[in-house]
Symmetry: C2
Subunit: 427 residues, 2 copies
């Protein structure tokens, strides 16, 4: 029987186990700082699957010096990375599989109909509910099922498989960064973030910025004696929109063809003034700028700084009181892999075989740890996963269970072809 | 010797006492809740000047039911109102003199070059520095000097003089409201708020509003899937500007002739969103609307509500998610006295006599407790004081001491003419 059918049958037989696995993962509220329970489950699964497993707590002091490090914390006690390595028999290509163990907080419980850490299954809907079901414990479960299936089916791989369950993806990638600095890399990588089954050879990076807009205070009854930082910030927001338009006018990549704003600049927070009847003298804007797959963070920073400086050309106020632009908080490095890359070809081929349709191959509208792998670890990374993009970070996050098993099947076959198998045993 | 010269000489001789009085008042940090020290000084001064003095703590429970009550607190223990009454010999008109004892907080100490509660005098500048020097302990000192001068000069008044030192003006007038409810009223009133020596027969009222603008959240990387409450709030701010223009286009009052925006709408606070890479789903705007001297608070509220509702006509978003308009916090009742009113004539006459120039007669760009007196107590109130409008509520607040003594002189002569004096004794 061909491997495809054997993997398919194995997954069918182990559907209950797969759902239990995801339930166990979702039932651990693994927000930043609370990942150890999930990591124990992953480590045990990997050991039982024949992987050599290493778990370690990243050294925040060492990481802090790295230009790509960002995390709200610098101590990771109790927050281990877990990496399992399955040595190949030799002569094959290595593949790095990466999932993150951390989830974003559940937010306002009142907005959930299903308990965020209940792992509740709705058989009619074919869904499993819970924080992290889509982002991205469902994707990690696909990986774990794929490697277990290959082991159970006696498949012996030629190349190494490195399976990482990392911390801190949601806050900027410190877990994957530390795994890279520890030496983990491979001939290619796959991250099953929630892509709605789309294949992303390219990923947008992003950074957070803060713009401080100055005004001049006055009593609201004589507001004409002051300069409202709120009104000035309206001009700034308009100017930032024009920067977004200019940046996107340059985007020619067909992978962004269907995207109305490939590289958005989002202003997410505004805060200014402190008294209803005073003219506000300061407004702070905080936002996120998308960075193109082939662009560097530094290029985007320089362009934005130069653009904002131009405001002073038309309004002397901004020449007197220039905007203050800061880069703070999280940043995600962009990544770009040639859509003709061999891993995209292999993955697409099995997608077609398993689902009998063409995969959507696009560039992602958001960053993942894949940028770090591609740019820093010389490990070309493709993102493809079963989760629902639109449910990530939202109340009633869930995953469609069929997708999780489909990705497990596609990934198992991709591993086999990419790493190569000892043919005599695979048949 | 005419009274004018006698008052003038008395003030010259008592210049040091007057400065000491203001110093003593300024050295008490009489922010809301801490007025008792100032009130003791005022009460003692009034008793020593022959006034019958009453001090009482307003009953917050009783006040709370009044439609014009606003205060951040509803208990006034330790915060007495002080009222002194000097009974006239009969046959004259009564005059109510009102000053507030409370000051706004000093704010950031680092922005002061002079200690806010030091009462420091700069002889070269002729200034006294400190929180409240202009707003309005300097004005209250003018009143206290005026009545003391008349007493010392043996002037016997025909009408009653009622001198009030009230609490809670800065937060919305609860002190004056309580004095009105206690029965204090007169044939006219004068409040020496910091008007830069201008005479205000009309006063603008004002209210605080809060507008809540709705958006729809989305990930910043796909911001086109959401609706930014920040962008929607820009349309709201623009729309509010148009309301301000429409309201001011109706203002024909010559007292507002020199004012670029007689009835401003100030947006003082903006706050929205909570995550740089999310599309913000809520923005709150807080501001102050100026209410015309002849307008009612309710008219202005209704006009603004109707105007905001019209946003939905051009943008269906606002029809789906109408703005929420709330009236919260402080409100100051507007007041209007005919510029030909007898008190304005008397006051202007002595202004001319003392300063040898024409007074500026205008409508105020902000509210005072005078609106309550005019509208609620049937006591036409004129505002005229020595303080510097532009220093009120600011670091390094100060007063020009000459102005304080000039106002004392003008007020003393105004009291004498308004209330009438026993001529045989006044000469």
């Amino acid at each position: 029987m061909p491997l495809k059918e054997r993997v398919h049958d194995w997954l069918k037989q182990h559907r209950k186990d797969g759902i239990s696995l995801l339930q166990n993962l979702v039932r651990v509220p693994s927000t930043a700082g609370n990942e150890s329970g999930v990591q124990r489950i992953v480590a045990e699964w990997l050991r039982d699957t024949g992987f050599d497993v290493e778990a370690w707590e990243p050294d925040g002091g060492k990481l802090a010096a790295h230009p790509y490090f960002y995390s709200p914390r610098d101590r990771f006690e109790g927050s281990p990375n877990v990496v399992g390595v399955l040595r190949g028999t030799g002569g094959g290509r290595s593949l790095l599989l990466n999932g993150h163990a951390d989830v974003v907080p559940e937010g306002d419980l009142g907005q959930w109909r299903h308990h965020p850490y209940g792992g509740e299954v709705s058989p009619e809907e074919g869904r499993l509910y819970g924080r992290g079901a889509s982002d991205m414990k469902g994707g990690t479960a696909s990986l774990l099922l794929a490697v277990r299936a290959l082991r159970d089916l006696g498949v012996r791989l030629r190349g190494d498989v490195i399976l990482q369950s990392v911390i801190e993806e949601e806050s900027g990638g410190a877990g994957t960064l530390d795994a890279i600095l520890r030496g983990y890399r491979a001939d290619a990588a796959l991250i099953p973030e929630p892509t709605n089954m789309r294949i992303f050879p390219k990923q947008q990076g992003s950074m957070w910025f803060r713009i401080t807009v100055r005004g001049r205070s006055a009593h609201g009854g004589t507001r004409y004696e002051g300069v409202s930082a709120i009104e000035k910030s309206m001009a700034v927001i308009h100017h930032v929109r024009e920067l977004e338009a200019a940046r996107n006018a340059r985007v020619r990549d067909p992978l962004y063809a269907g995207n109305p704003i490939p590289l958005p600049i989002n202003i997410g927070v505004i805060a200014g003034g402190n008294w209803p009847s005073s003219v506000p003298d300061t407004v702070k804007l905080e936002g996120r700028i998308g960075v193109g797959p082939e662009e560097s963070l530094e290029q985007a920073q320089a362009e934005m700084a130069a653009w904002l400086a131009r405001l002073g050309e038309n309004d002397p106020w901004f020449a007197l009181f220039p905007l203050v632009l800061e880069w703070f908080g999280a940043r995600w490095v962009p990544g770009s892999v040639d859509p003709a890359h061999e891993l995209v070809r292999v993955l697409s081929g099995h997608y077609r075989d398993v689902l009998a349709k063409e995969p959507a191959i696009e560039a992602s509208p958001w960053g993942t740890d894949g940028g770090l792998l591609t740019r820093l670890a010389d490990t070309p990374c493709v993102v493809f996963g079963p989760g629902l993009t639109q449910m990530a970070h939202f109340p009633d996050e869930h995953i469609e269970l069929d997708r999780m098993f489909e990705v497990a099947e596609i990934v198992a076959l991709t591993i086999a072809e990419w790493c190569g198998i000892e043919e005599d045993l695979a048949r």
